[in-house]
Subunit: 244 residues, 2 copies
DNA sequence: TGTACATCAGTGAACGCGCGTTCACTGATGTAC
DNA sequence: TGTACATCAGTGAACGCGCGTTCACTGATGTAC
């Protein structure tokens, strides 16, 4: 046994005390550094200062550890999105944009979770527990889209909330995965990923006919802005929003 | 040596004839099946029916093979996007949508290329040749966006083409990466990925003020739709003013 | 409070495996004359 | 057209390495009495 390991064991005693948690943390660090593909069970044990056999007391195999991380990731993701949505306060559009920013922030600040959840190749839909957790997170976006859809200008068909949610999800994921990732595969960008996504979502919402300039504090904007007669084939408010 | 290998060699003779190409094809198959992370140099040699040492005559190492695949992928991608764009015929919006569909089709039909290009963790920006190829492909989208931007209704500022291109790219990548991938990590979707992306792009273009119902066959739509008067009460400058 | 004992969470040695890589080699091919 | 020879593109054996996994074991902890 190496001196260092001897040392670490002397400090913590024979029993680790919280090895399961330590392994999860170690794996998170490794995934953030090298991607889910590059992370090994043995490496996680090493980082936790424990023999290669020890992890088997807590996880059946490498895949179970990876799933645990994805699971936890979806839960934290859901929490952050829920907090950002804040039940649509102060108004639906503002809250909706905040959800978009929260999405990106999560991808940026928790690259390991994001990787395990969306880029590890883990077949999420094949694991019921994982799928449920993933769905709960997505449902935050869907519920927000639902509320937004209910604001559709009078006389116009409401956009399907499910479709809106999928659109927003794909935008956020696309930006996160190309430009906001934590590793060397991140593409350079002439602006911040947040700005890119925010503009994208706003233009999209405008394309659906939603007024994207905020109404009076705390109040929903009027359903049909005066300058855009309903039935118009062009979104109300013209193609541009506020001045820079 | 196994009987099968003996057999294969008997058929093809001592020299393979086109091993480099065979290795690239083998790697493509393996990546499509197991992802770029799961593909090994030895496996590729095995599939090509050749000893594990043979590949070293053609590639310095596994990474060089992977880069070659990404390189070739970007080239084919560029070709397909260029063909889809068809120099903006019959009209800019129609051609633009066709580019979006071509993007998705590529991701779906060439999962191995797509994976190597965008999901393998290969640091594209760190390899000049690769970066150049990647940029050439992206430039097809950018040039198309440029043409589209030039159609902006009179009296209103043109949307920055670069930003539009990045938006379209992130939408297409998001949909491809979540819903249109070739492996088990594909998410289920209540519609086709093509439909999802097409709707997304159309709504987005509307949000920019482009008329998305086509004009007369082969003609560009009028620059200023009558129902969107310039001098609208919503000032220009775009939704990408700073977030609060 | 002390002791005996069950249970738990680690150890470290061992194993098989496949990968990447190197090496001297050899069979096939192309070419100069 | 034949032959000698250089070059090329493979072979197969060998090596070290790290991983995943199993196993009998052992030290620490908790608990019944």
């Amino acid at each position: 046994m190496s001196w260092r390991k001897e040392q670490r064991r002397a400090e913590r005693g024979y029993h680790h005390g919280n090895l399961k948690e330590a392994l999860l943390q170690a794996a998170l660090g490794l995934i953030a550094e090298k991607g889910a593909a590059g992370f090994t069970f043995a490496d996680a044990a090493r980082m936790a200062g424990v023999s290669a056999a020890a992890p088997y007391r807590h996880f059946r195999d490498r895949d179970e550890l990876l799933s645990s991380i994805a699971q936890r990731g979806f839960e934290q993701f859901e929490q952050r999105l829920t907090a950002a949505w804040d039940d649509g306060r102060p108004d639906t559009v503002t809250a909706f944009e905040r959800v978009g920013r929260a999405y990106l922030a999560f991808a940026r600040e928790e690259p390991a979770f994001y990787n395990a959840m969306f880029e590890s190749g883990l077949p999420v839909d094949a694991n019921p527990t994982l799928q449920a957790a993933s769905e709960r997170a997505f449902n935050v976006i869907r519920a927000a889209a639902e509320r937004l859809a209910a604001l559709a200008p009078q006389g116009q068909p409401r956009p399907p909330a499910m479709m809106m949610a999928l659109h927003i999800w794909s935008m956020a994921h696309g930006v996160a995965s190309l430009f906001s990732r934590g590793d060397a595969a991140r593409r350079k960008l002439p602006m911040s990923p947040d700005e890119l996504l925010e503009a994208e979502v706003l233009i999209y919402l405008r394309g659906l006919g939603f007024p994207t300039d905020r109404g009076p504090q705390g109040a929903e904007p009027p359903p049909v802005p005066p300058e855009a007669p309903s039935g118009s084939s062009v979104p109300p408010g013209g193609p541009w929003g506020k001045p820079k």
